[in-house]
């Protein structure tokens, strides 16, 4: 017979010994995680500079030209204005997309009939690029901030809806059962359990959609707004050979995109959602 504990053990309780996974011990500051990307960045700048020099092109700017362009923008007081304008439009467009897309997506995920009804329409609209909507945006909203906000809204709302739908579908049914067991129904069931169980995947969807929203800002600002980083890029063509400003605009967009993504990733560290993400080293 397999070895068993001494006869008296069934019925005696002892407190369980803690089994703490080592990964949760306090980490020392990992300087390598900052040094590595900086190193890669330096190499990239070097490669950029050398390739411009060797190609002999006098149109494409070198890194130092772009830096000068940025300084010039700061001197004219334009950099802050343009960044704020683009952030303003993306913030509102994305916020609207979240407020509408998350509840709608959750509803579609939960009620099969609703999904059957609306999903084909969503899949038709989803691949249409925001650029194609520009003429419509101008006709409906005129030339104002509302038009780029509309375009950014369009670009974000579909990924948000689709990922919220998937979140509900992929949720473990045992949570709903347990909650129903405790007597939760209707709105309380949704708020306390379904929403919280879906939250990690919803946040992932938001992160992706925010990246798309920020990517679309250049297209959205092709309409004759007169501020913003996208506008800077498009208008720099009119100014003759200002490709340094074009690349400066691109660079600013990229850097801000990095910051935005970083912030959303930080959201994933909260205890209420941390469980939903696979362990990354």
């Amino acid at each position: 017979m397999i070895a068993t504990p001494p006869p008296q053990t069934i019925g005696n309780g002892r407190a369980a010994d803690p089994i703490r996974p080592p990964a949760l011990q306090r980490k020392r500051v990992d300087w390598l995680q900052f040094a590595l990307p900086c190193g890669v960045g330096m190499l990239f700048l070097l490669a950029w500079d050398l390739s411009v020099r060797f190609s002999g092109s006098d149109l494409f700017p070198k890194p130092i030209d772009v830096a000068r362009g940025i300084v010039e923008l700061i001197q004219h007081g334009l950099l802050l204005k343009y960044i704020v304008a683009s952030l303003f439009r993306v913030s509102w467009g994305f916020a609207l997309a979240t407020v509408l897309g998350v509840p709608f997506g959750l509803l579609l995920g939960w009620y099969t009939r609703a999904s059957q009804a609306f999903n084909p329409l969503i899949q038709i609209f989803r691949p249409i690029s925001p650029i194609a909507w520009i003429p419509v945006a101008i006709l409906w909203f005129g030339v104002s901030d509302a038009a780029p906000i509309f375009l950014i809204f369009l670009a974000s709302v579909f990924p948000i809806t689709v990922s919220s739908m998937a979140a509900v579908r992929n949720m473990q049914p045992v949570y709903v059962r347990a909650a129903q067991n405790f007597g939760l129904t209707g709105w309380e069931l949704f708020r306390q359990v379904i929403f919280r169980a879906c939250l990690p995947q919803i946040i992932t969807g938001l992160r992706i959609a925010l990246g798309i929203a920020w990517l679309v800002v250049v297209a959205a600002e092709m309409i004759a707004v007169n501020s913003g980083l996208g506008y800077l890029i498009i208008d720099a063509r009119n100014a003759g050979k200002r490709y340094d400003l074009v690349v400066a605009g691109m660079l600013m967009i990229g850097l801000i995109g990095l910051v935005l993504d970083f912030l959303v990733r930080k959201l994933e560290n909260f205890d209420e959602v941390r469980w939903g993400y696979a362990n990354r080293s």
Binding site: T4, G13, P18, Q180
Partner: protein, 256 residues
């Protein structure tokens, strides 16, 4: 069987269950009848795939039987109810709440001072003091099951259903958990319906064991375990009961 019999906590009457299949219906349960007395610890054993979990889900109100009735405390079961709490095999604990919040989940309507007291009481009882702010992702499988048991108990149900709750744990942890479960049950004396495929577990824990047959399943035999607790795993009484169950299920002890 009188529906007004008030020592019976759960009555199963002529339960039949069939699922729609590809060509013909799949009959899982066939005329299941049973009576479970209040305060009893009953184990349901049977070969794998025989429908034990299905039966428990029907009793718990998550599934509707094709025919027959389930009566709990005299009234028909129409759906899940907080007076009858289910403990799942895995992942029943909510990962977005910490240990205290999970244990207190069934106490939403209780005043906060009282709720705190109850939560603390059961946290201690399952041996998780010090882990109140920990999240389930940080706990071992055994600790998570303790949280779930504490959560079930804290809600003060009449009956607790357990569907192979220790099935996902390793051997040693299972032994510990059984010991703790018996210790806790002896203090609270709730009615427990415990499904398992592990015959030893059934004999170690239960007052009575319901043995289910192969699919389509029925209760083929009921064996009383009149052994004192804590159960001595080497005593002849224990071994005799265990062998009887093996025999009833048409199996012998020899391996290979």
């Amino acid at each position: 069987m009188n529906p007004a019999d008030d020592s019976a906590a759960v009555v199963l009457r002529n339960l039949w269950m069939a699922f729609p299949g590809k060509q013909t219906a799949v009959h899982v349960l066939e005329d299941v009848n049973a009576r479970i007395v209040r305060g009893e610890f009953v184990c349901i054993v049977g070969p794998s795939g025989c429908g034990k979990s299905t039966l428990l889900n029907i009793i718990g109100g998550f599934l509707r039987a094709t025919a027959g009735q389930v009566l709990v405390e005299g009234s028909l079961v129409a759906g899940p109810d907080p007076r009858r709490i289910f403990v799942f095999q895995e992942n029943g604990v909510f990962p977005w709440l910490n240990v205290s919040e999970n244990i207190g989940f069934g106490l939403r309507r209780t005043a906060s001072a009282e709720k705190e007291r109850i939560v603390r009481h059961y946290t201690e009882m399952v041996g998780l003091t010090g882990f109140e702010s920990a999240y389930p992702a940080e706990l071992s499988g055994g600790m998570r099951q303790r949280v779930e048991i504490a959560r079930a108990l804290a809600a003060n149900p009449d009956i607790i259903y357990m569907d192979e709750p220790f099935g996902a744990l390793d051997f040693i942890t299972r032994l510990k958990m059984r010991a703790d479960l018996v210790r806790i049950w002896e203090r609270e004396r709730k009615t427990v319906l415990f499904v398992t495929h592990d015959i030893e577990e059934a004999v170690q824990l239960a007052d009575r064991v319901l043995i289910m047959s192969r699919r389509p399943a029925t209760i083929q035999e009921v064996i009383e375990i009149n052994l004192p607790r804590p159960r001595d795993l080497d005593s002849p009484g224990y071994l005799e009961k265990r062998d009887r169950i093996f025999a009833s299920m048409g199996m012998s002890l020899g391996v290979g």
